[in-house]
Structures are given as structure tokens and as C-alpha cells.
Amino acid sequence: MARMRTFTAAVAALACTALITAGCSSGGGKGGQAKTGPIKIWYSNNAQEVTWGKATVAAWNKDHPDQQVSGEEIPAGSSSEEVIGAAIAAGNAPCLVFNGSPSAISGWVKQGGLVPLNDFADGASYVEQRSGAAVAAQYKSSDGKYYQLPWKSNPVMIFYNKDMFKAAGLDADHPALSTYSDFLAAAQKVTAAGGAQYAIAPAPTNEFFQNWFDFYPLYIAQSGGKALVDNGKATFDDPDGQAVADFWSQIYAKGLAPKEKYNGDAFADKKAAMAIVGPWAIAVYGTKVNWGAVPVPTATGMPADQIHTFADSKTVSVFSACKNRQTAWDFLKFATNQDNDGALLNTTGQMPLRADLSTVYASYFTAHPAYTQFAQQAARTVDVPNVANGVAMWQDFRNGYLKSVVFGQQPTGQWLKDAAGTVASDIAK
């Protein structure tokens, strides 16, 4: 009996040890402040960004033999946010990630995974000077600190297929797409009799971020630049939100957009005549599609230079697992200086979130007129609100949108009212 008890105790002890190991952290990880030395960084797997990342790292390493940077693509996963969240918990996050999503920041802060940039002497001032105080303010966390440097934006616009528009008898160079009625008329024409399969094909799936590419940009435009929430309250349960919801529900009710997920890029595959996307897509569509771009529509039309849109920006953060944080901060400033921001624009076509974008790189925009309107649009963008439980908020918003707008199972007015309540309670938790 005694031996059996010993055995049971041993198994129990082993189980407990495993439990403690699983449940508790291994300690350490509080990297020293303002230390220099080698660091590791991650960038996205977008081909153009990889090219830029490698070149920037090589340029830095040439001049900093004692502070070598090793750069690699974010490890594969279903989304980079999940991979980064897991890396924070495991304690093996890199020093910098050049692909932060503003919606994920509050969660990473809660995990204790990020270093406030205000810890660096010139942290806050650098962020505000580079992006402009007004833009930078959107990226400030609720404790008033910056945990992210607003790096680049991809202001979304309506891309349209010129060939399809021409075939449908529409003006391919100056299409009338600025009001909802114009847009609907064009959508019906371009899908009529043997035309495009769909007028536009936003993903009708329930990932939390999909509203960033259907409802949200149009709401930002219609409301003159309002975010989804303001001061802890939902903004969208108003006539502007109603107009946008009704616009999209008409698109779905008339069969102008698919209610079923399309496997692939419907615009690149020439199944859809339009798409809502940012300038990163230019490199993808390239010469495959004869495309043009216009600002997102509003109910009764607005001059192009007054239209706001969704920024779809990416940010860079310093992670708390980083030991040589001073090098991380110095490299971040190096990678976002005027030259390297210019190289980013040149290589990827994405817009560095700089206050002086269109003037500093004027010659680039003269040489690449296709990007000019995106640069102009970049001055009027709104991002996802920096709130607690942002992902849960967007998920609830998405569930209701699908039910009401896409599948028409609830009046849009009722959904907006319900969603305003849900959103407020989500972010208050």
C-alpha cells in the first residue's frame, strides 16, 4: 500500500509540476531599458514589403556592426495578430513587428507585451512630428501613451474594371459612382446581360475585420470622418449609418454582390467589376486588370477632396520581450526616416503615415500618377478606434451586419440600434 501511495503521489506531483509549468510564466523577459545590441524584427510576407524590409535591414547593418538586425517574415499562421499574440505569451516575440494592426494593440497591451514608446526620450515627439499630432492622436491608447508608431496606410477606394465598364456602355474614364443611386445604376448596368458576374464582391464572411471593407469606409465617408465609436459611444446609429446600411442591403437584395464567399480575388479574376481596396493592390492587379479608382460613394455625392475613408493602416510596436530596446527604437526611427519611407512608397506603393507625404515625395507622385489620388486620400483617413475589446466589438458588429444587411433577416434600423448597444457594452468591459 505504501508503495502505491508513493506511486500515486509521484503521478500527482508530476501532474502538478506540469500544471504549474503550463499555468505560470517562466519569469525573466523584463528586458533592460535603453540597452543596445543585436535585435530581431518581423515584417509581413507581402512580396514588396519583404524586398523593402531586406534592403532596410542591410542598410542599417552596414553601419551598425555591434547592433545587427536580423529580419524575417512573420511566421505563418491564420493571421499575423494570432501569431504575435502567441509569441507574446510564449516570451519569444521579436523586438519590432512591422505589421501591427491597430485593432490588436489594446489586446497586446493587456497581455503586457508592448513597451510604451513614451519610455524613450523622444518617443512621443517623434510619433507626433512624423505623422502630425491629429493623425497620431488616433493611435494613442486609453492611458494616453503610444504603444504603436503609425507606419503606413492603405486608404481604401473603389477600384473598377475599365474594360467591363466600357463594355456595359459606361464612361470608363470618369464613371459616375459618387452617389448611391449612381453607384447602384452603374452596378446594375455592368452586371446586366452577359456583363460581370457581380458588380462588387466584398467578402460576406464573418471574420471580425470584414466590415472594414464594406460598411466602415462608406460610413466614414458619409459621416464626414467619424470613427465607429467616439467617447465610449457608438456613432453609427444615425441617419448616416442608416443610409450606408440601406445602400449595402440594396446591393445584396438586388443580387449585385455575392452572399457566398468567393474563393480568390473576384476583381483580379474579372468576376466582379469593382472592389474596395487600398493602393497595395495596384502591385497585385498591375496589368492583369485595366483598372481605375474613385473615392468611395456617399448618399448624395461629395467633392472628392472632402471624402474621408478607412485608413487600413499598419503600425510598428516595440515588444516587451526585447532586451536591446534602444537599438529597437533607433532602428524604428531609421526605418521610418524620410529616405526609408520614400523607399517604402517606391517599393510597395503604400502610403507612409507622414504629415508631409505629398510634398516630400512630390517627384514620385509626378512619375506615378496612379498613386497620386491615394496620396491625396491618405490625408483624410480614419482608422479603427483604439478601444478595449476592439476585436469582440467588430465581431458582434459583423454578426449583426450579416444577419440584417447581407441576409435581410432583420430591418437595418433595428440592427443599427441593437448594434449601438452591443458595441458600447463590449468596449466598456
Binding site: 494570432e82 499574440g85 503586457g112 464573418n206 475589446n389 476585436v391 447581407v406
Partner: protein
Amino acid sequence: MSRAPRRGPRSKTFVGLYLVAPYAVFLAVVYAVPIIQGVRISLLDYVYAAPGADVPQPFVGLKNYRKALSDPQLRRSFLNILEFLAINVPLTVVLGLTLAAVLAKLSRLKTFFRSAFFVPFVTASIAVIGVWYFLFSQSGFINHALGGWAPNPSWLVNSRLAMVVIALEVTWKQLGFYVLLYLAGVLLIPDSLYEAASIDGAGVVRQFRAITVPAVRNVTILVTTLALIVGANLFTEPYLLTGGGGPNGASMSPALLIYQNGVEQGKPGVGAAIGMLLTLFVLLVAGAGRGVQWLVQRGEERSPGRDREVSPA
């Protein structure tokens, strides 16, 4: 009470304990620890904290359970899973056993058919889902074949049909594995029983009902239990085939909700609470299934008919 007579059984016990020890450790590490950890997380306002970070994780009692239960999607997901199991489990048992019985009798192409049924099981889910998407999407093969008879809305966006398509896909994909389990059982049945039944004038169907079905009863219990557990953990198909449990939550599953809450939305406590509820649900459904089987078996034993006379037991 001398010591000598006790030595034998006692040393046998020790040998036995040492022999089961590796498996006991395996069970503890792979199953017990995660379950205990799951219960613990479900009672905390848990955060996947960075090592060394000072992050409070207060005990919140049943708050996570209340939060999970107040989500209308959760109720929907459990009802969806019941619908899924109601199609998947009986279909798996009927098709698995029938195919195994036929395979056992085949004299030619046996290996070919066995492998053919097994191929979908070992093929990556994403590839199988790609094929089913090609078949059942709006502009897919099935709708083309049906022409004017195609359902509207189409299969994957039809709230009545989405779960049915998923249940059929999963049944088809898993079937090869269950056929193998049944085949092992069917091949153990002595041929003499079939010969005797044949002499008594029993046809193929009668032989199947009177000999094969009762003889593999234990395999049926195993297949039912496995299909229930695997089915209740349904994730990949609603995630990929119906765009995240669509349309409008009609194919939402508890496992997908665990992922959304626990991983995407950074609410591991709520995710763990749903996990515990799912475990209870599986235990209840499996227990109910076992109860029904027990009642059927008892009923048969009390009223021995001709079926019983020829069964191998």
C-alpha cells in the same frame, strides 16, 4: 497472516503499476493537465500574459459561463451540432457497417476499394473542402447539374441546407476510418455462422441483420462514441466551407466560438467556459446514446428471437 502468501499478488500489483505508469503519465500530461487548466482558466479573467509581465488574473467565479450562455450564438451552435450529429452519426454507422460487410465479401479489387474509402480520411481537410466548394457553391457543379432545380438560396448560404452539406462532407471524409474499424469486426465473424444461416434458408439481408449487426455491436458502440466526439468538435468545415459558421450562424459550431472568443477576441476565460460546456454536452449525448444502446440490448436479451439463435454470442 504470514507474509509469504501475500508476496505473490502484491508483487503482481507492482508489476502492473509499473506497466501502466507510462500510460498514466501520458494521460496526466496530455489529458488531465489541460482539462484542469481549462477549468482553472474558465474561472479566471485570464490573459495570455507575457512572461514576467505583471498582469492581474482575478478569480471571477462563474462570470465567464454566464457571459458564454448569454450569447445567443452559443445556443444556436449547440443546436447546430445536434443537427449535425443527427445526420452524421446514424449515417456513419449505417454506411460504415454496410460498406465493411460488402468489402469483406469482395473477392476482387478488395485492396483498391479499401484504399479508395480511406483516401478522403487521410487527405488534408482544406483540399477536401476545396472539392466540396467546387461541387456545392452557387456556380458549382451540383447547381449546374440541377439547373432549375437548384436550391435558392444556394446550398452553402441556405440556412436549412448549410449544416446538411457539412454533415454529408464530414461523413464522407471520415467514413474510410470507420469502415476499417467495422471491417476488423466483420472479418472476425466465423464463416460457419453464415453457412449455417444459409442452410437454414436466410438470404443476404437476413444474414446481415441476424449475424453481422449483432456480432459487431461493440464496434458500433466504439464508432458511435468516436463519431460523437469528433463531430462535437466540428471546426474546419464551418470555418472554411461556410465562411465562419454562415449563413448568419446557421453552421456555427461551439469549437468555432471557442476559437473566436479564446484566440481572436482575447477572452480565454469565455473560450474555456464554452470548452467545459462542450465537454459536458459530449458526455451527456454520449451517455444518452450509450443508454439507448443498453436498452436495445436488454430488450433483445429478454425476448430471444431467431436473430439471437444465430448470433455468435
